[in-house]
Symmetry: C2
Subunit: 239 residues, 2 copies
DNA sequence: CGTTCGCTTGAACTAATTCAAGATAAGTGG
DNA sequence: CCACTTATCTTGAATTAGTTCAAGCGAACG
């Protein structure tokens, strides 16, 4: 399941968390990692288990989610190539506050808590980098919280799709495809609604020609229209 | 409006952020601060303005809130004595992601960005402490996000009240009073609902004898009942 | 080739919002 | 101290956005 990482291709220099470190440092850091693969649907870690590992995703997409006591799932977001996750492993006694599950086959570099803490001590800039990272995520989550508290479902779905375009958009001839398996249920769990409402909303948009959908597949033909819905702009007039 | 802080009473040793530092260090840190007062309703800082200052509240309670583009307010939480806020000032070029407004007369210690960064460098443990702090807040916010996405209004209001008891609960003869001016509108903005729904819900609870309310005032007589509603426990039987 | 899984759609329902009107309490100035 | 003003709170009635339930469709999969 795990193997020593190859250092000869420097996969870390695209990772924002490590940006600014020189090649020697990156090589050292990569050396301390182990490569880990996770097939689709496998969990990197699950909510409430001790936080022992920090990951940088190399390939694939993974889902950050929480399960409510009643068994309902809430999707907090996705992690893609060159994104890091699990900084909480730097904190002693911490447990993961959510689960990370591969939605496509994934490949990641992994560091244990001890190694991570050593890195933070050895390269003090990383501690500040980590702080900036978590703060950034915090701000994003705040905005989503506000969105959930104040916006209608339709707009929340539009926003979720636009975020997914940023995260995993793949340009096609006729628009942008969201390059990960995405069910109606997933979208519902991302926006705090039900799969029925998502289905109805997507159907409507499909009728209007904004997008095309299929089984776990969304292709956005006219992102501007989604943007208009998300931002409450006036409808484009033909004059 | 601001004056040099007095160091002779060491107000910092109760602040979790500085916990573990020796008295000499605390004195040094206090020396670098300035004392700042804010009368009720004054803003320490507002959303989107450059983050220049890190605060530790000494006295009073202040409200963290965001305003939506449409002008609706969302309350993210409260800050009380010995709690710190504005670590984002350590990040260059950052702006505050929300506003901090005094809800009672407040007194705080303040450090500018430069001083804060110097502290983080001088006492490396503080960087890790800051990381832990933000991570902790992040986890809390995640849970509230999940709550908002999955729970009914009644339960969200009960949870908000219980959190306020933790934050600003004052024991009275007949129960716990929430020791800050708290309108129905405030509670609505904390729970993503309307002031009407909050009013109806509190009225119902008052009829049931769980609490007493007044103008901007809530006294919780039977916290266990709120807890029952918040956690969906069975109703207490008299057997 | 049948079964599973994801998706759609209609119809009934309901939790919560919105609107409206009045009650209550707190400040303000004469 | 009282009248006046303002802000908060309450409650009913109408409305609605979104949920829930149910039934059926169609593509993928072993």
């Amino acid at each position: 399941m795990t193997e020593k990482a190859t250092t000869d291709q420097q996969p870390l220099h695209n990772v924002r968390f490590f940006q600014g470190l020189d090649s020697a440092a990156l090589a050292m850091i990569a050396q301390a990692s182990r490569k880990q693969r996770a097939p689709r649907d496998a969990f990197f870690f699950t909510q409430d288990e001790p936080a022992t590992t920090f990951y940088v995703l190399i390939a694939g997409q993974a889902r950050l989610s929480q399960i409510t006591p009643e068994g309902r799932q809430v999707i907090l977001g996705f992690v893609g190539p060159n994104q890091e996750v699990g900084i909480v492993a730097a904190i002693e006694q911490a447990t993961y506050p959510l689960s990370l599950q591969a939605v496509t086959d994934c490949e990641a570099l992994a560091w244990g808590s001890a190694a991570l803490v050593r890195l933070l001590e050895q390269y003090p800039i990383l501690a500040l980098r980590a702080l900036r990272m978590v703060t950034g995520r915090f701000v994003q989550l705040q905005n989503r919280y506000r969105e959930l508290a104040t916006e209608r479902v339709e707009r929340r779905i539009a926003r979720a799709l636009l975020r997914l375009v940023e995260q995993a958009g793949q340009c096609e001839r006729v628009g942008v495809r969201i390059d990960l398996p995405l069910s109606r249920q997933d979208l519902a769990e991302m926006t705090g609604t039900t799969l029925y409402t998502v289905s109805r909303t997507l159907s409507q948009w499909e009728r209007q020609g904004f997008l095309e959908t299929g089984r776990e597949r969304v292709l956005i033909r006219v992102p501007q229209e989604l943007n208009r819905i998300a931002e409450d702009l006036p409808e484009a007039s033909s004059s």
